[in-house]
C-alpha cells in the first residue's frame, strides 16, 4: 500500500471493525476517539514505510502519546504518558496506524485477561471462555480480524498463551532484541515486547520493524533489526528437539494429537526430529512465581499517588496516602503478587526462595544450552497444556491459573525467542504449538513456523 486514499480506507475499516467488536471488551480506547485518531494518523503517515496504512493495536502497558496508558489498572486510570515507547515510535516511523490500546490483565499479571480493572475480555469465538492473558485484548482483536497484528508483552508467556487460546501467531523475541523503553516494567529481567499476528508473516514483519538497538534501553542489544527469512520449501537440515517434559501423561489428549500431527508434518518437511530432555522444566513455574513477583514488588513501588495516576485521598499524612492509594488502586492479583514478592525478598526468606529461584533459573537456561550444543536448532512443544478455559474457572485458585503458563515460562527465564502458531482445534477451540529457538536466532524459528503454517493450512484445506 502506497496510496494515501488506501491508508485512509484502511483506517476507516479498522475503526468500523473496532466498533462492531466492542462487545469483546478487547479495546480500551473509546471508538469515537479511536476513529478520529486513526484518520489523523492515516493523513500523517509516510507512504514509503514498510507498514504503511497497517492498523496495529497496542497493549495498554506500552506507552503511547495519543491514548491513555493504564496497564488495565485503576491506579493509572486516565494516565497519559508524556513519551512513547520506542517500539511504538518505530511502528509509526514505518507508516503503521496505532489502532488504540488493548485490554490486559492488570500490569500484565495474569493468564486470562480477567484481572483488568476495566472488565474481562471475551474469547472471540466462545464468550464463556477467556482469551488467555495477559495480552488477551491484543489476541482477541487479531483473532476477530479487527487488526492484522498487535503488540503484546511477555513476562512469562503473555503473548504466546493468548495467541494459542485465540488461534493466532504470537512471537516473544530474545530478551534484548526489542527495546523495553516505554514498556511499563513488571519483571525487568523477563519482560519483552512481543507481537501477535494473524499469520507468521504479519507477526514477523512487525517484529522486524520494532527490533534493533535503542540507546534508551541499556538491556537492548546493539544489533541491527531482524532480517526476515524467506519461506522455505523444506526444512531439510533442521534438527528439531521434542522435550519429553512438555508431554506429561496428563497432557490434554487433543493437544497431544495436534502436536503429534505437527511433528509428523515437520518430519515430512525434511526436519530431523529428536527426543531431548530439559530436566529442570518441572521447577520452572515455581522459579518464575518467585522471581517475577520479587521484581514486580520493586517495580510497582513507584505507584503511590504522589506523582501520577489518581490519588485516593482523605488523609493529611503521606504514609497513609501511599497505603490507601495502593490498597484501593491495585487489584487482587497485583496485591497478591506484591505480597509474595515482598515476602520472598524479606530477611530470613531471601535465601530459601529468591536465591534458590535464581539458581534454578540458571539451571533451566543451561538445560537449553545443553540441547542446542548437541546440534538441535529448535525445540517444539505444545504452547499450553489445554485449550482456552472457562471464565471464572481458575480465579479462586491462583496456583491453578499460574500452571497454565507451565510451557511458556521457560523461554522467559532463559531469555530465549519463542513462537506459538495454531496447529489444530479441539471442539472448535484453537490449540497452539510452540517453537523455542537459540538466542538471537529468530530467523530459524520463523523459517520453521512459515513452513509448518503452510503445510497445516494445506492439510486443513485437503
Amino acid at each position: 500500500m502506497t496510496d494515501p486514499s488506501e491508508a485512509l480506507a484502511s483506517a476507516r475499516a479498522a475503526a468500523d471493525r473496532l466498533t462492531k467488536t466492542k462487545r469483546l471488551n478487547a479495546s480500551l480506547t473509546p471508538p469515537r476517539e479511536l476513529r478520529k485518531s486513526l484518520l489523523l494518523q492515516a493523513q500523517a503517515a509516510h507512504p514509503s514505510g514498510v507498514l504503511y496504512g497497517m492498523p496495529i493495536a497496542v497493549k495498554d502497558n506500552i506507552c503511547t502519546l495519543e491514548f491513555t496508558t493504564t496497564c488495565g489498572s485503576k491506579i493509572l486510570g486516565g494516565y497519559r504518558s508524556p513519551y512513547e515507547a520506542t517500539a511504538v515510535a518505530k511502528l509509526r516511523g514505518a507508516g503503521a496506524l496505532i489502532a488504540g490500546k488493548t485490554n490486559c490483565d492488570e500490569f500484565a499479571m495474569g493468564s486470562s485477561t480477567e484481572h483488568s480493572a476495566y472488565g474481562r475480555t471475551l474469547h472471540p469465538t466462545d464468550k464463556t471462555r477467556v482469551p488467555g492473558g495477559s495480552s488477551g485484548g491484543s489476541a482477541a482483536l487479531v483473532a476477530a480480524g479487527v487488526v492484522p497484528a498487535a503488540l503484546g508483552s511477555e513476562t512469562g508467556g503473555s503473548v504466546r498463551q493468548p495467541a494459542s487460546f485465540c488461534g493466532v501467531v504470537g512471537i516473544k523475541p530474545t530478551y534484548g532484541r526489542v527495546s523495553r523503553y516505554g514498556l511499563v516494567a513488571f519483571g525487568s529481567s523477563l519482560d519483552q515486547i512481543g507481537v501477535l499476528g494473524r499469520s507468521v508473516h504479519d507477526a514477523a514483519r512487525v517484529l522486524s520493524v520494532i527490533s534493533g538497538r535503542d540507546t534508551k534501553d541499556a538491556t537492548c542489544e546493539d544489533r541491527d533489526s531482524l532480517r526476515l527469512p524467506t519461506v522455505p520449501e523444506s526444512l531439510q537440515g533442521f534438527v528439531i528437539g521434542i522435550p519429553k517434559e512438555y508431554f506429561p501423561p496428563d497432557l490434554d489428549a487433543g493437544v497431544r494429537r495436534a502436536c503429534d500431527r505437527a511433528i509428523r508434518l515437520l518430519r515430512e518437511l525434511g526436519a530431523a526430529v529428536r527426543d531431548v530432555s530439559l530436566p529442570h522444566t518441572p521447577y520452572a513455574v515455581a522459579a518464575y512465581y518467585i522471581i517475577a513477583p520479587a521484581e514486580a514488588s520493586s517495580n510497582l513501588a513507584r505507584y503511590d499517588g504522589a506523582r501520577y495516576g489518581p490519588r485516593f485521598n482523605g488523609s493529611l499524612d503521606i504514609r497513609a496516602l501511599y497505603r490507601r492509594t495502593r490498597g484501593e488502586g491495585f487489584g487482587a492479583e497485583v496485591r497478591r503478587r506484591i505480597l509474595v514478592g515482598t515476602y520472598v525478598l524479606s530477611a530470613g526468606y531471601y535465601d530459601a526462595y529468591y536465591r534458590r529461584a535464581q539458581q534454578m533459573r540458571a539451571l533451566i537456561a543451561q538445560d537449553f544450552r545443553n540441547v542446542f550444543d548437541r546440534g538441535v536448532d529448535l525445540v517444539f512443544t505444545p504452547t499450553t497444556p489445554a485449550p482456552a478455559f472457562k471464565a471464572g474457572e481458575k480465579l479462586a485458585d491462583p496456583v491453578a491459573m499460574y500452571l497454565s503458563d507451565i510451557f511458556t515460562v521457560t523461554a522467559n527465564l532463559a531469555g530465549l525467542p519463542a513462537l506459538s502458531l495454531p496447529i489444530g482445534r479441539i471442539k472448535g477451540l484453537p490449540i497452539g504449538g510452540q517453537f523455542i529457538g537459540q538466542a538471537f536466532v529468530e530467523d530459524d524459528m520463523l523459517e520453521a513456523a512459515y513452513a509448518l503454517e503452510r503445510v497445516i493450512a494445506a492439510a486443513e484445506e485437503a
Binding site: 502519546l65 494516565y79 497519559r80 508524556p82 513519551y83 530478551y175 534484548g176 529481567s189 540507546t215 541499556a218 538491556t219 542489544e221 546493539d222 521447577y283 515455581a286 522459579a287 512465581y289 513501588a301 504522589a306 506523582r307 501520577y308 489518581p310 490519588r311 493529611l316 499524612d317 503521606i318 504514609r319 496516602l321 501511599y322 497505603r323 495502593r326 490498597g327 491495585f330 496485591r335 497478591r336 506484591i338 505480597l339 509474595v340 515482598t342 515476602y343 520472598v344 524479606s346 535465601d351 530459601a352 526462595y353 534458590r356 529461584a357 535464581q358 539458581q359 534454578m360 533459573r361 540458571a362 533451566i364 537456561a365 543451561q366 491462583p398 496456583v399 499460574y402 527465564l413 531469555g415
Partner: protein
Amino acid sequence: MSVSREDVLNIAHLAEFDVDEETLPALAEQMSRILDYVAQISALAASETARPFIPGPDALRFRPDEVKPWPLAFGPEAFAPEFQDGFFLVPKLGQFEDTEAPG
C-alpha cells in the same frame, strides 16, 4: 507453609498498602497455597557457587553522564495529582512533623 493473618498484615505494611479486614483470611490462604507451591524449589541442593543467569548484553553500555532536558511531550503538571511551582504536592509526613516540631 502457613501464612497467618498477622503475617499478611506485616508484609502489607512493608509493601505500603492497606488490606481490608474482610479480605485477610482469603489472602492468607492464597498466599499459603502459593508459597507451598513455590517451595518445591527447595528440592534444589543449595549451592553458593552456582552463577546466576542474567539475560541481555554481557556488559551494560553507559550513556554519557550529562544533564540535558528529557524530550517529554508535556510536563508533569499535566499528569501529577497535585503540582505547583515546579513541585509535586504531597501531604506532610505526619509522624515526622510531630516529633520534629518545636515544643
